[in-house]
């Protein structure tokens, strides 16, 4: 058994609504994300997928429970310790969150300028290499607002990978992209993972497409997380909730096959 790099132990998180109502998003989530694997977190909207990512990063604190990253609880960490843990993460947010008053080049160079002692020339060399790898040559002087959605995702990916993270968190990598572009992003992600060997956590709606990429799939529903080790395991699950989810995301093909056999 490979050691989990990220582990959720009975995590609860709720939010206060506008008129004082309490919305419980996570109700006792237990989760193990294994080193070097790709874990896809799926589930309908509003089930706490993005919250899960924010909790891992320490951008939010849980109401109760532990979130262990490499054995250390992120929930009780502060300041410098949290910074140290975060430096092993690479993150691409849902909207990529590019620094929109900086050019593509400056965005990708920023982590190197801030977190390494590399000289200007070395940084330039590394950034140019990344631009080539991600097909962004010729766009380096553009601003994020001038890029297409797919390019923007690639900029986010390139920026997140500059410091060679151990764990990559990818929130909705393909929202707003057409199927061809989504596939391209997945391929790129897969290829680079093979090269760099990071642990990947992907939050996605693209359940059927992303199965090829995933070593394990987590389905979030009603504040709980259910872990599956293969796509077949999900498709043949007896759990009505999971069946619903499968039908919703993959259509009726699977259901009819189930009935025939």
């Amino acid at each position: 058994m490979i050691e989990p790099i990220i582990q959720f132990v009975d995590v609860h998180k709720s939010f206060e609504g506008v008129n004082g109502t309490v919305h419980k998003v996570l109700r006792g989530v237990n989760l193990k994300i294994r080193t070097g694997m790709t874990t896809v977190i799926g589930g309908a909207s509003g089930q706490g997928k993005s919250v899960t990512i924010k909790l891992i990063l320490g951008l939010m604190k849980p109401d109760s429970g532990q979130i262990l990253v490499e054995g250390k609880d992120v929930a009780v960490m502060g300041g410098s310790e949290l910074n140290e843990i975060r430096s092993s993460f690479g993150v691409v947010f849902q909207g990529v969150a590019p620094f929109d008053s900086m050019t593509v080049y400056e965005n990708i160079a920023l982590p190197l300028e801030e977190k390494t002692k590399l000289s200007k020339q070395e940084i330039r060399k590394r950034v140019i290499e990344s631009l080539e790898q991600f097909g962004l040559i010729g766009h380096e002087d553009k601003f994020p607002a001038q890029l297409s959605g797919g390019m923007l995702k690639r900029v986010g990916l390139a920026r997140a990978l500059q410091l060679e993270p151990k764990i990559m968190l990818f929130d909705e990598p393909t929202t707003g992209l057409d199927p061809a572009r989504s596939l391209e992003i997945y391929r790129l992600f897969y290829k680079i993972q093979k090269e760099m060997g990071y642990t990947a956590v992907i939050v996605s709606h693209d359940i059927p497409k992303i199965f090829n990429l995933a070593d394990q799939v987590v389905v979030m529903h009603e504040g709980q997380a259910k872990l599956f080790n293969s796509s077949e395991e999900i498709q043949w699950s007896n759990d009505p909730i999971i069946q619903d989810f499968v039908q919703m995301t993959m259509g009726h093909i699977y259901q009819s096959r189930m009935e025939n056999e």
């Binding site: 990063l57 951008l59 430096s87 993460f89 947010f93 620094f99 982590p111 801030e114 977190k115």
Partner: protein, 264 residues
């Protein structure tokens, strides 16, 4: 009974919110000051902010200063001429500009021009998760975003105030001496006799305090956007910006009174 309870609940919630908000602003200030001492210092970013807050505000300050001085010249002339003491016009214009109008009007103009922009910029960075992105790269957002703005404002506002004073005095000269015919010798010699170092110091102290108030409130409201009751999305940025401008302007005026009462 229900209505009474609701009112009390509302009052309690509001009080808690404001205490929380105040605490948030206090912590924001502490972290910002801590950011000053963190390395590497972003010198280029500091210069950019200085250009935006300082150099680009010059035209606004020039016109405000010139016309304020000119109005003071005209108003002062008509009031003083009733007592036959037009000769005092120079000192009246200079003293009111250096002690009061220079620092206050500069601070208000900078709030409107640069403070609102700083607040909106930080607010947008907050709602588009750019601040989160910085934190995730373990880059201290206070050092990265707030420090350059803080220091640039503390340098720019006192300098702009001094320019305001000089331009204003010449505005007074233009209307009082050139247009209304006050003796130029009396205008300047009266000023030389009545304006002492203490007046200039008072003006400079005020401009430093105002700069601090402006940059603290404007960057704070933008940076803490999600923790305040500004609402969501684009509306929250506009609310926070309005709030920042109104709050800084009022706070500047309150501090103006306090400093004057304490030091004069």
């Amino acid at each position: 009974m229900q209505i009474v309870l609701k009112q009390i609940e509302y009052l309690g919630k509001n009080t808690l919110y404001h205490i929380n908000d105040l605490g948030g602003m206090g912590l924001f200030l502490l972290y910002s000051i801590r950011g000053f001492f963190k390395r590497p210092f972003r010198f280029t970013a500091f210069l950019k902010e200085l250009k935006f807050i300082g150099a680009h505000s010059f035209v606004v300050i020039f016109f405000t200063g010139a016309f304020t001085g000119m109005v003071l010249g005209v108003q002062g002339y008509y009031t003083l001429s009733k007592f036959g003491s037009e000769g005092l016009l120079g000192s009246a214009v200079a003293l009111s500009l250096i002690r009061e109008l220079g620092p206050v009007l500069t601070a208000l103009m900078v709030t409107g021009r640069a403070g609102s922009a700083m607040c909106a910029e930080l607010g947008i960075m907050r709602i588009t998760q750019q601040v989160d992105a910085l934190e995730c790269m373990s880059i201290d957002p206070y050092r990265f975003l707030i420090t350059p703005k803080f220091l640039a404002t503390l340098v720019a506002v006192p300098l702009l105030t001094l320019m305001f004073d000089v331009v204003g005095i010449f505005g007074g000269y233009l209307s009082g001496v050139q247009l209304l015919g006050v003796n130029p010798g009396a205008f300047f010699s009266g000023m030389e006799k009545s304006v002492v170092n203490r007046d200039i110091n008072l003006g400079i102290i005020k401009s430093f305090v105002f700069a601090f108030v402006i940059v603290w409130i404007c960057t704070g409201r933008g940076f803490l956007l999600l923790k305040s009751r500004s609402g969501f999305g684009a509306g929250s940025v506009s609310n926070a910006t309005t709030q920042a401008v109104v709050l800084s302007s009022i706070t500047v005026l309150i501090w103006d009174y306090l400093i004057t009462a304490m030091l004069l």
